[in-house]
Symmetry: C2
Subunit: 441 residues, 2 copies
């Protein structure tokens, strides 16, 4: 593990809200995002600290960075994270290290730092978060063996898991244009649906679902034709966010053969606005997924000591639901899914190395998502398709309502956090979306 | 048909090479592209005329446009076609109309025009063509029923065509980052291959294939959540190019279930540099695909009088091959495939309307490709998978060589042209790529 002063579990910030037990953004986190002040279109790179945002370019203008951290801060004077992502880990580490120093309460210059930085801090209530990067390509994997087995057993009870699954990290190209930031309402899509007999009909989807996923944002890219070896894959990963890969299951069922999901997914994908760096997640590394003895060894291009010893992260992820009726009656959100990134069969580095193994070029800001992060237990299933077993086992909500799939007015909120005994919690923030009725036909 | 003076079959240009019988770029064509002068990195928007390129921004600087055509030319002062694409058809038509006027030999001001424009003309031998647009998303369809039936009958002899085929335009998201312009060499990819027994191996693909496709570039986009109705779909299509969707069939066979092709395609996709506008193709419109009486009517969102009367184009497309040995022995290229866009089961407008029917937003410069444009006959099959029936019926080449799939040193050239009695030929130019050996493991 590469731990330094930024990870010190006892570090506190002179920003009081960063020291609250329930904040997602203690000084040990320092995630990056892009924000605009309410009523202003201009976008700026920010770092979350407690319930504030630090305007990185404003700090830079005050001369608070030097050397490598200044070059990294310079890349933050653009309206997206792509330029910073392209610089690579030494730049990210330097910038994060300096910001940690500047925000720390027990630094010998803390008083001066505070004086200089306070004008660069904006309450999160006064900003709107933007998509953090220009995402050139979005690839979505299928890395949870529990999800693949559950979905497979609905379609093929005799062969739930296909023969390739334990060898190839299965994935597909997603749609980049329809990625939206948390808080953007989601319009229920129309599409072709086959009702089991007769010709298909074109109608509003009646089987709208969420998918609880983790996204990995690419740092430096690789040139076309030049694969990234597995032992260097982590250096191409900038950080992680939450991804809700909204899915119209009825559309998907009818369209997906033989080329995979298309319009069932491309109407919208939500992402959380704060990118938690791999640096911040270092203390939460853990060995790559346990293999059963009958499981094949990964092929050499997907294997290595790092994969086995510290390939994944202990990262809790959750999906929460409120319905219009629940909000009306002030009934609290209900948690539908609670899973963990370590449930995946493949590690982030394996996904990235596989993606580039054919020479495919990744670019800074590209998004690789995990696929639905289901675990082995019932409550760790990461979508309604699994939770209600294709709608056959509806969920009972505290409001007395039932849910097979999402109804208009339902709001799904994804959350994620890394927890370790003796350390403050590191959170991913939220990824929210409320379902709007389909537009008039 | 919307024909005007730019389509006049007898029009000639004062650029002599534009009047040659075998040029792809007579004055009736005027396709758009992006070029750099050899040895200069700067990119410029150009229009092909005979064997020259007209530098649009340079013409604009000389004050040769006014009103709407000036606004369109202003959008051509950027290094890609995206800004022009975003302006919409009236702008494209105005610019094309004015350029046609300026280049025409029988215009009353032809002598003056020539004097002003000659400095803006560059021989094509002195330029390098670039990718014509920043392609945000690339979607690839499967619109040839002949291709789908051939491939399906290899995989499922009892059910070659899946039940959804005649209802849904099947497509998938492709990889945008690895789109390269004609002439870029193609590195043979490595990937996981299953040899029919034992565990899979990671090796250089031995079943590398081309796919003869037509690409449609999006003009003005649509907002997320706002589908484009079928009767307005053509106004969102800027123009057409050739697409070679290189495919590693062995990788594809092992990875494609259940989410479709991924690394089997994402190592490279070649496109031709000149975008032939829909305006230029107007004279070659023809009724949409003939349906057999047993075929279902398209659902209303995919149907309309325009689809039936003039939904597609009479556009010949071809794939040609040379091998290293053929070039060595100065043996001419051999034509492998000769097909036509009208062989597709779906029209371009149907593909675009379907793509947006769930609210998915398209952006200017997005690429929609047809999928392999196979026709009903053997010589109209658009890839080696079909031509050699999965390698079981190798092709004999004039050099005495055999081909099941592509070998290192093979060069594939796609060509396309619209021909109509009494009209000069309108060409798409070329889409070329030579296969390089896989990089060392």
């Amino acid at each position: 593990l590469r731990l330094d002063a930024t990870h010190h579990p006892d570090a506190l910030s002179w920003v009081p809200s960063a020291n609250a037990a329930d904040t997602d953004f203690p000084i040990q986190n320092l995630p990056f995002g892009v924000f605009s002040r309410v009523g202003d279109d201009k976008s700026h790179v920010g770092i979350a600290i407690g319930n504030h945002v630090l305007d990185v370019a404003a700090c830079h203008a005050r001369g608070l960075f030097s050397g490598r951290s200044a070059r990294a801060a310079e890349a933050c004077t653009t309206p997206s994270l792509n330029a910073l992502m392209a610089l690579g880990r030494p730049a990210w580490t330097a910038l994060r290290g300096r910001v940690s120093e500047l925000l720390r309460s027990n630094h010998r210059d803390a008083r001066t730092h505070r004086q200089f930085l306070e004008p660069c801090l904006i309450p999160q209530g006064q900003v709107e978060m933007r998509t953090p990067a220009d995402i050139g390509d979005f690839s979505d994997f299928y890395a949870s063996i529990h999800h693949a087995t559950n979905v497979g057993s609905m379609l093929r009870p005799d062969q739930p898991l296909l023969p390739n699954y334990k060898h190839v990290p299965i994935g597909y190209h997603g749609r980049a244009s329809s990625i939206v930031v948390s808080g953007t309402p989601i319009r229920r899509p129309r599409g072709q649906v086959w009702r089991g007999e007769g010709p298909p009909v074109f109608q509003a989807s009646t089987r709208l679902d969420y998918e609880l996923e983790v996204g990995f944002l690419v740092g430096p890219g690789n040139a076309l034709g030049e694969p990234v070896p597995i032992d260097r894959a982590d250096d191409h990963l900038f950080g992680v966010c939450l991804v809700n890969d909204w899915s119209a299951r009825d559309v998907q069922q009818w369209e997906y053969q033989p080329l995979g999901p298309f319009l069932a997914k491309s109407f919208a994908t939500s992402i959380s606005p704060w990118i938690v760096t791999l640096d911040a997640l270092e203390p939460y590394r853990m060995p790559g997924p346990e293999r059963r003895s009958a499981d094949p060894d990964p092929l050499p291009y997907l294997d290595g000591p790092n994969v086995r010893l510290s390939g994944t992260f202990d990262l809790q992820v959750e999906a929460w639901l409120t319905t219009a009726a629940m909000r009306e009656a002030s009934i609290a959100q209900v948690r539908l899914s609670a899973s963990n990134l370590h449930n995946l069969y493949w590690t982030p580095a394996q996904l990235l190395a596989h993606h580039t193994s054919n020479g495919c070029n990744l670019r800074p800001g590209d998004l690789l998502a995990s696929g639905t992060v289901s675990g082995p237990t019932r409550d760790s299933r990461g979508c309604l398709l699994e939770l209600t077993w294709r709608g056959t086992e509806p969920l009972r909500l505290p409001s007395g309502e039932e849910r097979r799939f999402l109804e208009d007015g339902d709001e799904v909120t994804l959350r994620g956090y890394a927890v370790r005994e003796g350390r403050p919690r590191i959170g991913l923030g939220e990824c929210r979306g409320v379902i709007l009725p389909a537009s008039p036909a």
